[in-house]
């Protein structure tokens, strides 16, 4: 028998949660806690088990073993007490496409027992909040990707949950809408709502209070974004070079480089700590191969670099670190 945690301490208290699907282990014994009021990010490659983990915590999928306590209530035995306190936004748009924005909001409000007299004011507030007021009478299927996600968020917020589960809420959404979506999440954070969000985007992970890295059904790292970066041994050097493709194997072959990535217009090289003169060595190696180096300078570690350096490649199913980052980006 699992004893409940003090109600006020954690929004989420996950205890050795497991899920098997016909012999495949999707979630392999996850144990973790999420304090109240945090924005908690879950990152990891496709197939890591992120969605399965979230669906179990959101009471839509029964665990094979273990348990998750949401505000001290078990998702296994007290799901009915968990549901009113949570909101869940699945990866795919899952509202009624053929109902209008307003009808969707009203439907989920009514279903979740929002008092009738509050309905109008709440839905007006949420429409305003998500910038959907002028689209209230439009059917959901005719909204843009970003608007759809905002509507889905609004529909989960209408019952004023204390904990929000967001499963890759901005996947396939344009950058402007993504920024706006995160502005809304920041607003929720200020209201004290706990947000648990799975995201493939490192810039979004950067905005979380804490992040956990999940792969092969396990959480293998957990820290604040700054803490993640501090864990990385060495420093990052940014190189602008004429041919990135040709440059990568050359830099990778240097003894002090631990990781090499192309990021935007730059080649980013993680070098081990004791290297003093490596800028010059990188330059000479590249120029020796006939490549033109236009700029070389020290740079800050980012989360992509951090994960590439911190996650042992062996834990990733048939991928190398470059692919992890491709997934993460």
């Amino acid at each position: 028998m699992i004893t409940p945690a003090p109600i006020d301490e954690f929004a989420l208290d996950v205890r050795d949660l497991r899920k098997e699907f016909k012999g495949t282990v999707a979630v392999d014994g996850v144990t973790m806690t999420v304090p109240r009021g945090e924005v908690f990010g879950l990152v990891g490659p496709d197939g890591a088990g992120k969605s399965t983990l979230i669906r179990m915590m959101a009471t839509v999928l029964a665990p094979t073993s273990g348990d998750a306590l949401v505000f001290g209530r078990s998702v296994r035995t007290e799901a009915a007490k968990v549901k009113p306190r949570i909101g869940y936004m699945s990866q795919a748009f899952s509202l009624y496409r053929d109902l209008t924005v307003k009808e969707n909001l009203e439907f989920f409000a009514e279903l979740r027992g929002v008092p009738r007299k509050e309905m109008a004011s709440r839905s007006a507030k949420l429409l305003e909040f998500s910038g959907l007021t002028e689209f209230a009478k439009r059917q959901a299927q005719f909204l843009s990707g970003g608007m759809k996600q905002k509507l889905a968020l609004a529909a989960t917020l209408i019952s004023e949950p204390d904990l929000l589960f967001l499963d890759e809420p901005t996947t396939g959404v344009d950058p402007v809408s993504r920024r706006e979506f995160w502005r809304i999440i920041s607003g929720l954070h200020r209201q004290g709502i706990t947000v648990f969000v799975a995201t493939p985007y490192m810039d979004e992970a950067e905005r979380c209070d804490e992040i956990a890295f999940m792969t092969q059904g396990r959480i293998i790292l957990r820290d604040t974004p700054a803490g993640m970066k501090r864990r990385v041994p060495g420093r990052v050097i940014e190189v602008d070079v004429s041919d990135y493709r040709a440059a990568m194997p050359i830099v990778r072959a240097l003894p002090f480089s631990t990781s090499v990535e192309v990021s935007g217009e730059h080649l980013r090289v993680l070098v081990s700590g004791e290297c003093e003169n490596c800028e010059a060595e990188i330059r000479s190696a590249l120029e020796g191969a006939g490549l033109a180096v236009s700029r070389i300078r020290p740079a800050a570690t980012d989360l992509e670099m951090a994960f590439a350096a911190l996650i042992p490649t062996a834990t990733l199913p048939g991928r190398d670190d470059a692919e992890v980052l491709a997934v993460a980006e």
Binding site: F21, K22, R55, A58, T59, V60, L61, A62, A80, K83, P84, I86, G87, Y88, S90, A92, F93, S94, L95, Y96, R97, D98, L99, E103, F107, F108, E110, L111, R112, G113, Q139
Partner: protein, 372 residues
């Protein structure tokens, strides 16, 4: 159990239905279209069968025979060949479907009150028409023989069969048997189809998962989902019944209570099957395929189109597994003969069993379905 939530689901379902441009015509036009198709096209009535007459006797009596055939309305004289070869050619070229051969000395035999024969050749390549034509021909000959031999030589065997059919369907209009069965068939189509599509659609689109994060209970969801389709099915049935009795002038000799309760029980089975299919299918396409797969045996093995008696003995036991089989018997006998619960209780019992099993299975699957 909250009626507020059930009502909400029903409201939502109708709202969606109203917006679904492909669904509405299907719901209201399909039944009428089927009625017309089954009433007119598949109807087993065969009229104006192209007939060649070979009259080798040429007597008033032989003319009486030919007139008997033509006046029945089923046969239409199209040619009068004089030789067998000529007749054969007509049949081979599909110019004639039936040939009537009156042998020489026919009138002499009649006058002498000796037994005689009329030859009837039927083109068997269209087995349906052939069997109908030979049936009609038998009847015509039987009635002619009563006319030609006022004092029967022996008890005419053909008359017995004809008299049975005359009792309940005097004009032998197949539409009279088709319309009642169609009530059941359309009910089956609409409950199974719409139900299987409705749940699987919610599943496919993820809305079902979203619903399960809300306090809605499984019973509330099911009732909210079933009721709209029950209502639609009721409207369809009424539509078919009205068109059937008014337009097709099918006489209704039964009781609305008996027929209504039979159809209600059958609707439960249909909804249960639809629910089951939707829970076993991942996509709407799969659900559709499964329904089509089940539709063929239902049509073939239920006695809806083809009589159960004409089924091969090996397949016959399978017909007991087809729910449509029982309801077809109920609606037909009630509609035409006014049979009541006393006569139809085995069919009612079988359908109750089906409804219980199918629904029970659907419910237990529904409990587990989100777990994998």
């Amino acid at each position: 159990m909250s009626w507020r939530r059930v009502r909400l689901l029903i409201w939502k379902e109708f709202l969606q239905l109203k917006r679904d441009r492909s669904m509405l015509p299907i719901i209201f036009i399909m039944p009428v279209l089927q009625l017309i198709m089954f009433g007119y096209v598949i109807g087993t009535d065969v009229r104006d069968i192209r007939t060649a007459v070979v009259d080798r006797d040429g007597s008033p009596e032989s003319h009486l025979v030919v007139d008997g055939f033509v006046n029945s309305g089923y046969f239409k004289q199209v040619a009068t060949p004089t030789t067998d070869a000529e007749m054969q050619k007509l049949l081979d070229g599909n110019k004639a479907q039936v040939a009537i051969i009156i042998p020489e000395g026919f009138s002499d035999s009649v006058h002498a009150k000796r037994a005689t024969q009329v030859g009837i050749v039927v083109d068997g390549s269209d087995s349906k028409t052939a069997s109908v034509a030979s049936g009609y021909a038998g009847q015509v000959v039987a009635s002619l023989s009563r006319q030609l031999y006022p004092t029967p030589m022996s008890s005419g065997a053909g008359g017995v069969d004809a008299r049975v059919r005359v009792l309940f369907n005097p004009t032998l209009r197949s539409v009279n048997t088709m319309v009642p069965a169609l009530l059941a068939f359309i009910l089956m189509m609409s409950t199974q189809m719409t139900m299987s599509q409705a749940v699987v659609k919610e599943r496919e689109r993820g809305t079902l998962e979203q619903l399960f994060v809300t306090p809605i209970g499984r019973a509330e969801y099911l009732i909210g989902k079933l009721l709209p389709y029950v209502l639609i099915a009721a409207i369809q049935i009424t539509l078919v019944f009205t068109v059937g009795t008014i337009w097709f002038k099918v006489p209704f000799n039964g009781s609305l209570l008996v027929m209504g309760s039979g159809l209600a029980l059958f609707a439960l089975t249909g909804l249960g099957i639809g629910l089951m299919v939707s829970l076993l299918s991942r996509t709407r396409y799969q659900a559709q395929q499964a329904m089509t797969f089940m539709m063929v045996p239902s049509m073939m093995l239920s006695g809806f189109v083809f009589p159960l008696e004409s089924m091969p003995a090996v397949l016959y036991p399978l017909s007991y597994l087809i729910p449509l089989r029982y309801i077809v018997v109920i609606v037909r006998s009630n509609f035409m003969k006014g049979s009541g619960f006393a006569a139809l209780w085995p069919q009612f019992a079988a359908m109750a069993l089906f409804a219980a099993v199918v629904f029970g299975f659907g419910l237990s699957r529904f409990r587990k379905q989100l777990n994998d």
